[in-house]
């Protein structure tokens, strides 16, 4: 019997023609490594470059104009660092920065502890409901979380809004990220080492201190840094629960651009960007799946 000859594959490698989605940002590059024919490969590169350009050119413009010696974001006049100097003498800005740092430090510390506990519990006891409870704040639209937290603080607890309410809100949405990172770390580990520790005479607490804690330390560091970046650049939720009188950096920037996008805004945005990027890169060194967790 004659078999029909296998149909030749189109030269263009049409399978890979669809451009990668823009949403995955840093991860979109993974698609580039696939084999593809000449024309298909060209379009793949073109689409990818267009995507990255779309994502990063606005950021680059902000950075560029923060060094522009002109009040207007219109044309390049000359290089200066005076906007950064001006920032240092802006009391409102400094207060907002101090608030942001304090909130980020405290909320990421607390959520690292709570998130680690949640991650350990999810790994060890595998309760069906816990991942749902822990991860919902991560997936929920920020505006919803902001509104519901505001209602909760004001209507249910009758709490006055301020630093404390912002802290609680930030802890709420950070726990899930830490938990996911810790659980991912534990999932890759040989379960029997924890039994071995008990077997060799370690109490549950000694097992945690001597074995579990050192082994999840990279995940804790990564989780802490993630929570820190999430906190320091959060706008939407903070906007709802900040009340009057307490400003964070993103809120301060927002109130400034209501008037005009001044070079000062560009400067503080550039600093914030640099800080966030540094922290994320640091976090991804501790736990490679951090970039995935952030989506």
């Amino acid at each position: 019997m004659n078999r029909p000859p296998p149909s030749p594959r189109p030269k263009g490698g049409g399978d890979y023609g669809s451009p990668p989605k823009g949403g995955s940002g840093l991860l979109a590059g993974a698609a580039l490594g696939r084999p593809g024919g000449g024309a298909g490969r060209f379009w793949l590169w073109a689409a990818s470059l267009a995507t990255y350009a779309f994502l990063y050119i606005p950021l680059a413009v902000v950075v560029l104009f923060s060094f522009n010696d002109s009040l207007l974001n219109a044309e390049w006049v000359g290089f200066t660092t005076r906007w950064y100097v001006k920032l240092l003498h802006d009391d409102d800005m400094l207060r907002a920065a101090a608030n942001s740092l304090l909130i980020a430090l405290v909320s990421s510390s607390v959520s690292t502890v709570l998130g680690a506990m949640a991650g350990l519990a999810m790994h060890r006891y595998r309760p069906r409901w816990l991942p749902f409870l822990v991860l919902t704040p991560v997936a929920m639209p920020e505006i919803l979380l902001g509104v519901s937290l505001l209602l909760f603080f004001r209507q249910v607890l009758d709490l006055s809004l301020g630093l404390f309410s912002i802290l609680v809100a930030h802890i709420t949405f950070s726990i899930g990220f830490v938990a996911v990172i810790v659980r991912a770390r534990l999932a890759g580990m040989d379960e029997s080492i924890f039994e071995a520790a008990r077997d060799l005479g370690a109490t549950p607490w000694a097992t945690f201190r001597r074995i579990t804690l050192p082994l999840i330390m990279p995940a804790l560091m990564a989780g802490f840094l993630m929570a820190f970046t999430l906190s320091i650049d959060d706008f939407v939720i903070t906007f709802f629960v900040a009340g009057v009188g307490v400003n964070t950096l993103p809120l301060q920037i927002y109130s400034m651009i209501k008037v005009a996008v001044t070079p000062e805004v560009n400067a503080i945005s550039t600093l914030l960007m640099a800080l966030t990027l540094t922290l994320i890169l640091a976090a991804s060194r501790f736990a490679p799946d951090v970039l995935k967790a952030r989506q």
């Binding site: 040989d190 077997d199 060799l200």
Partner: protein, 361 residues
């Protein structure tokens, strides 16, 4: 009094009975093995002895004292895990020091004992290495050293050689025997490898489906299997369906359909007419040319259908008159001789009347 006594131990997982009413004695200084196919309950028993799992019924006594409710860290026994379970963030010396630190020993004593134990397993030069820098055999030794360093009453070993390649496994077996003799600690060893069990153990409990089928010394298990499962599980064996025709004192007359009468021995009183199986080790069968005469009671004609040359021995598969294949193992002891018969040769298989074992169904 036995060091460890297991009394009517039962463990259920849902509807599955993983361990069914198991009772065992393990004496001090013994190398005891739980042997059986995967899923037979041997690891479950080990986990209950270690304290990671609790029995649904029955009890485990160490020196006559029940271990019920005693957490793993307070049981004077250690486990060597199949995956070794070395702590990846500690050095070899750190791993071995761990049980001593947990026991609250002084820094001086810890240093001395770690040094001694490293010497015992020939790893003095690896003290500062991390587990990921070691080979499989070295990890295995570290796991053993860590289990032995605090001189437990009992060392539990869960398929510890399973992850090693064949050559290394044989070397480690020899080391294990020497080590156990040297430290004098009781070993309970779990394995699915009958060869490993026979080579290492003082006594073996053969398990199937949560029950102990037979518990005896290796040579007894091999030559006097209690039933068909044990006979088949330990080593190679020919099983011939038979009916008992006569039984007088130790002499047993068996009849195999299409084959004829088989003379055997059995000290037990056995009823005539009973059906069972005659179990015969291949190395106890002699294969002769069909014209050669042999002064043996059991002689059956057949044709060589297959032969497997194994170097020191040759395995002959001989088809008998009733169509059954019987395996015979003959040493190639004569100089320059690789085999005695060819495929297609007419031969006679013979064995002594006390060579095989009659097993009741």
């Amino acid at each position: 009094m036995a060091l460890l006594e297991i009394r009517n131990l039962t463990r259920r997982f849902g509807t599955l009975e993983a361990v069914k009413d198991v009772s065992l004695f393990i004496e001090a200084g013994e190398f005891f093995t739980l042997l059986g196919p995967s899923g037979c309950g041997k690891t479950t028993i080990l986990r209950m002895i270690a304290g990671f799992d609790a029995p649904d019924a029955g009890e485990i006594l160490l020196d006559g004292v029940s271990l019920a409710g005693v957490p793993p860290e307070r049981r004077p026994l250690h486990t060597v895990f199949q995956s070794y379970a070395l702590f990846p963030h500690m050095t070899v010396a750190g791993n071995i020091a761990f049980p001593l630190e947990m026991a609250g020993k002084s820094a001086l004593e810890i240093r001395r004992r770690v040094g001694e134990t490293l010497a015992l397993v020939h790893l003095e030069d690896k003290a500062a290495s991390f587990p990921h820098e070691l080979s499989g055999g070295q990890k295995q030794r570290v796991a053993l050293a860590r289990g032995l360093v605090n001189q437990p009453r009992l060392l539990l070993l869960d398929e510890p050689l399973g992850a090693l390649d064949a050559k290394l496994r044989v070397e480690m077996q020899i080391e294990l025997i020497a080590l156990q003799r040297e430290v004098g600690i009781t070993f309970i060893f779990v394995t699915h490898s009958q060869q490993e069990a026979l080579a290492l153990s003082h006594r073996i409990a053969v398990m199937r489906d949560g029950r102990v089928e037979q518990c005896d010394e290796p040579d007894q298990l091999y030559t006097q299997p209690a039933n068909r499962f044990v006979a088949d599980f330990i080593g190679k064996i020919n099983l011939i369906e038979v009916e008992v025709r006569s039984s007088s004192k130790v002499l047993l007359g068996l009849h195999a359909t299409g084959l004829g009468e088989i003379a055997a021995t059995d000290a037990r009183p056995i009823a005539v007419g009973e059906r069972g199986v005659f179990a015969l080790r291949p190395e106890l069968i002699r294969v002769f040319g069909h014209r050669e005469s042999a002064d043996l009671k059991n002689r059956f004609e057949g044709v060589v259908r297959e032969l497997l040359y194994l170097g020191d021995v040759t395995l002959y598969k001989v088809e008998l008159a009733n169509g059954a294949l019987i395996e015979a193992l003959m040493p190639n002891a004569a100089p320059g001789r690789a085999k005695f018969h060819e495929v297609g040769d007419a031969v006679a298989v013979c064995w002594r009347h006390d060579a095989g074992v009659y097993l009741r169904n």
